[in-house]
Amino acid sequence: MEKAIEVNGLSYSYQGGDKKALDGVSFSVDRGSYTCIIGHNGSGKSTLAKVLIGLLGGFKGEVKLLGEPLNRRTIVSLRRRVGIVFQNPDNQFVGSTVGDDIAFGLENLAMPQSEMAKTVHEFALATGMEKELEVEPSSLSGGQKQRVALAGVLAMSPDIMILDEATSMLDPKGKGEIDSLIHKIKKSKPELTILSITHDLEEASHADQVIVLNEGKVLLSGEPSAVFEYEEELREAHLEVPFLYRFIRALKQEGIEVPPSLNSLESLEEYLCR
């Protein structure tokens, strides 16, 4: 299968820092897949996001995005195909209103004015912000701002979308809205590769692939059900396996086998009651 992201032996240390933020990280992400990178604070996951979007130069190793090596020469063209939603909803709102913010990326790509209004409306509709086009950011909730950020990224029709802890500063309601919106987007755009950086293992359990980072190194990677088998290793990396997977593991220890395709409590309940 075609790879969206290929990372080989990636190392990075911040200026003045004696420790490597990333230390020989290697992984690959299939095109059209939903991959979660999980890790505790300081595991290097945000550094990885910044390297992938080309904000941090001077790394060691090889990074290939959509088959092209990431370097000074390719960075500008690659950025047009890779979008990112950051953690803080306030600090990525560039426009003065919702409409202006969604249009910001399109203005940068020099999209003709006549097309822009249509595109902005289309993605405001897709993220449920079509009624707020003229609203200023100060009267939006954090969840709404993140929806606008998603709309702004999606409007540029990227091949890869990186979510750098996009829901970690939101309240549970806002987080739920963004999570379900991302699932909706994933369904309507199967060719879009989503790389979500998170410390929410619940979210990771819905991913196609999970990569666990710890102290700048890849600790584990694979399908969620396989990764969550390593409960002790994850705990050592300060990560708590979701209840569902702990439950499945406990069932296994009691000799009850459960197919690995089950990824929700409801489906497990259905399976067990059958």
Partner: protein
């Protein structure tokens, strides 16, 4: 924090619909008409002296005040906000009056003696001092009304666009007008965020015992640093995040950009432009030809 003046008031009105570029021109044109010196020449002991033409000035300020009042009504703006921001004006005008009485700024008094102060060696106070202070008062009031009209009926975003448009000829000398406009627009967008920061930080510091009101001047300044330094740190970290977000969305200040919002001139813009341009032209012409309406109407100069 309470900022009443300079806020956009979102209502529907013809004034709100006028193009921001035209509105800025109108503001400047009307201000010019307010601030021009309306003088006339009188003969004192065989010498021609230029003095302020008080009657013409009063007539002009009256007309301007009437125009502003009508515009306030058309723009559906409340006078209450204007009056509340005029409170500090009275004090300024009172001080000005005292200065004008003590240090007269007219060449020749033309309005006659108001009173004499026996305690000050029969110091003569002319009505001209009062007229001078009154003129400053009306100029300030008109300036406030006009700027209030502009900012209350124009979104910050539109104002930024208008500034960019007026600065765009400077591109020839490599002046980064688009970048400046972008900076202004982001700064305006972030004012509420930073005000929230101020509230949050002052509460956090107050809970640790910092005080911004109590104590002498020294303590207040020291208290303020505990507010300003965290605010700066937060603002810098926000600006770094925002710069990253802009780079990631392919922002290139030197690259070609298109514009989401369309601004086109309409008939109402032409009307507003012609009206204000005509007023300014009229005022300048009156000065250039030393127009004397009162002389020509009544055959004698009234004042």
């Amino acid at each position: 924090m309470n900022i009443t003046i300079g806020r956009y008031i979102p209502v529907q009105s013809p004034l709100h619909r006028i193009d921001p570029r035209v509105k800025i021109f109108c503001l400047i044109a009307l201000m010019v008409a307010c601030f021009l010196p309306y003088n006339r020449v009188i003969n004192v002991d065989g010498v021609d002296k230029e003095v302020t033409y008080w009657a013409l000035s009063a007539a002009i300020y009256g007309v301007m005040f009437l125009i502003c009042t009508i515009l306030f009504l058309v723009g559906r703006l409340s006078f209450g906000k204007l009056f509340s921001s005029m409170k500090s004006l009275w004090f300024t005008v009172a001080i000005l009056l005292v200065i004008y009485i003590l240090v007269p700024n007219y060449t020749v008094p033309t309005l006659g003696i108001a009173f004499k102060v026996p305690a000050m060696n029969n110091w003569t106070v002319y009505w001209d001092s009062f007229a001078g202070a009154g003129r400053i008062f009306f100029r300030l009031v008109l300036t406030m009304m006009l700027t209030f009209l502009l900012t209350a009926t124009t979104k910050p975003l539109e104002l930024t666009y208008a500034f960019e448009w007026y600065l765009s000829p400077l591109k020839i000398v490599k002046f980064p007008s688009a970048e400046v406009a972008m900076t202004i627009s982001i700064a305006l967008t972030f004012i509420p965020t930073l005000l929230d920061d101020v509230n949050r930080i002052s509460k956090a510091q107050a809970s640790r015992g910092a005080s911004f009101q109590k104590g002498g001047f020294r303590r207040k300044v020291v208290g303020l640093t505990s507010l300003i330094i965290p605010l700066f740190v937060s603002a810098f970290s926000r600006s770094e995040d925002l710069a990253n977000a802009m780079i990631c969305r392919s922002y290139d200040p030197k690259g070609k950009r298109t514009r989401y919002r369309a601004y086109r001139f309409h008939l109402i813009d032409l009307f507003a432009f012609l009206f204000c341009a005509a007023l300014m032209a009229l005022a300048i012409t009156m000065i250039a030809i030393r127009f004397d309406p009162f002389l020509s109407w009544f055959g004698v100069s009234l004042l």
